[in-house]
Amino acid sequence: MSQTETEILTPSTIPSTETHVLKPERSQLGFMRPDHSRSVIMDWLTTVDHKKIGIMYGAIALFFLLVGGVEALIIRTQLAIPENDLISAQRYNQLFTMHGTTMIFLAIMPLNAAFFNFLVPLQIGARDVAFPRINSFSLWAFVAGAIVINFGWVLQALQVMGLFEAGGPTAGMTDLAPAMGWFGYAPLTGTNFTGAGTDFWIMGLQILGIASLSAAMNFVVTIVNMRAPGMKMMRMPVFTWMTLVVSLLIVFAFPAITIALGQLMFDRCFGTNFFVVAGGGQPILWQHLFWIFGHPEVYILVLPAMGIISEILPVFSKKPLFGYSIVVFSGAVIGFLGFAVWSHHMFTTGLGKVATAAFSLLTMAIAVPTGVKIFNWVGTLWGGRVRFSAPMIFSLGFVWMFMMGGFSGIMHSSAPADAQQQDSYFVIAHFHYVAIGGIFLAVVAGIYFWLPKMIGKMWKGKLSTWVAIFSTVGLNVTFFPMHFLGLLGMPRRTHTYLEGFGWETYNLVCTIGAYILAFGILLLVIDIIRCFRNGEPAGNDPWDARTLEWATTSPPQVYNFAKTPIIPARDALWEDKYGPENRKITHEDDHGHGIHMPSQSWMPFIAALGFIPVGLGMSLMQAGIPYMGYVAIFGLLVLGFGIALWAIEGPGGYHMHPEVDAA
């Protein structure tokens, strides 16, 4: 393929490279590197390929989405009728705690991470992320955190069967899965109120935080440094921009929760007084530290969704994104303002008039860039040739449903109104419209849009329409009545309620809606399985799309691009297909060096594995199991050795020559 040819890669011009021809080399440790292994399991455990890591993030996140969904269904079933006794109050507390924690940290964040991983290097024309081994470490640390945080359920099952009794500092406590709400307010998290479940939650979140931080730093470096020639900042796809903003949010927001969790852990394990009232501590400090992290976290969850929508709407409107630069700028402003509104979660704690007024105003201000984005999306649709393909249907649903959540959000920004809505079902309605109507629909849109690129197979049939109908109808039937429930005074986190408050009908409708929504998600899972099993080959560019990831094969080769593309304009592929001659994509000449590929490695996996004994050891120590402190120390040693060997083994790497093989 010569330099002037415009087509980048097609399966016919460049056959897949047979990696097994390459022999694994020795690392500086003297071991064989796990490269080019024929064992599938070994290959996936040691992979540093951002695409495989992204797919693993996505698969695990979808699993936890179903787990969190089942937890929600049990909650809704319990609330279907007044004075129901399907589950105990304690079990109910555990379910809503783990539902929130699972959905936020184990479903939505890793789903976003799946898209970051798979798409960002492709969208900027890079070979991989800046630090492939750190990327692998982030994935496995996330898995370790997920195991630790859910381990409480195992212990709880043993306790129910009468095989386990908590001793030690939490002797007599029966809650072995977290039961204090996903924001873990002090002093409820003290050892005199909650048992070892809180310790699993603390250690699990701490590990998940480390995973998120290392991934976020990696993505900032990737986006700043690894862009292909010509891919200026203002030529980057909006999704990549939002990844950059979100990564910076994670870098600066997660430390607050890390320290707060550390202080809480010290309170529980080593007798400090950070949140212990008797020792002079202030429970309100936890609220501040949590929400200084927690509010940016909201934007960490939603900005990638906005990025996905900003990619899909232009493709199916056959128009460039309306006001690209203002959409990017609004995203950055939302990220920045996100740090200045945390106290609107705390209006009822008595902050004082000035603070309340300031946070109220800032909260209203943050609606402005969000509104700007909505208008830009509508502007993109305006006069476009709209195709109602599956990703587009979900994207349109996102714009409308997200706006609903936004409206009730603006209601909360008024402190007097918020004082009435605080801790009522109105709040539940608000953030579920944002989380399901906004983030979930956008993620499903993203799955319908990019799965053909990820696995190289195209969707079959029109099941997607039914997924859209059931999930949006279910969402509205479940959560719209909750606005009324809230205004009628139903408090959140109540495991049952009495007859005669006028809540019965609404609750029953909510529960029916939850099952409709669940059926929609079941259809989605079926559709994904059908696509995997029976999908036709998708081809490089099934949607007639605009950005660089569609220029390579589906699924992309391990090296992404056989030759580094040179980007002449925004919407690079679109310009290449339909633009004038001077806006075609050209390619860098590698002068026969081939493509430098990173070596695979066991070390990130081993290091991350060390987190499991650390987390479980610290938590089980609190439940009074002997010698668990030593297990935690053993875990730290595994982590330390993993990192040390990782440093010594060296990055390695080998070269691939796709074109040479083709010839």
């Binding site: 550390g262 400090t272 007084n273 950070f274 050209t586």
Partner: protein
Amino acid sequence: MSDTVRQEDDHGSLVINNKKLLMWLFLGSDCMFFGTLISTHLIYRKLYPESYDPLLVFDLELTSFSTFILLMSSFLMALAVSAMHKGELKSFRRNTIGVIFFGLIFLACQVYEFAHFTNEGLTLSTNTFGSTFYMMTGTHGVHVAIGVFWLISLYFYSYTGKMDAHESAVDIEVAGLYWHFVDIVWIIIFTAVYLIEYIPGLN
């Protein structure tokens, strides 16, 4: 065609090494870590009239000495980085040993200080001052200890013959960035935790 494009817009506009950028991001994040710890300490400092008086245990001479030692270690670190840039391996080793030695003195002072405070009856669980003080200075101490361990590793690595002025200078520079940051954080802790107690009006 491709040449003209290359002249117009080259690779990323910010030309900074990947490892260095990663370290800067970590340090940005670390600022928030220490920011949270220090603000917790300052919020709890005089929350109640009967709050603990740190002057009962503080020994300004010792802490000033260890602060000075840490400052000087930063100076040696800068010399070590500069030596590596010039490819002077011997000078690099000499200065690195100095940094390690000074770092260990600082840690020894901190261990002495912790032991002394504990003997005076101030532990993690005595009061909020004990909690915030030990956790904050302890976190800083862990940072210093990791830095010392890192520099020891680099010192021994320099004997393997695999270091060269081009590739390894960046690695040393990244370690240097970390070391200077840990030093700066200590200056802030020294001011906001120790010196502040000696200002008469603030009590």
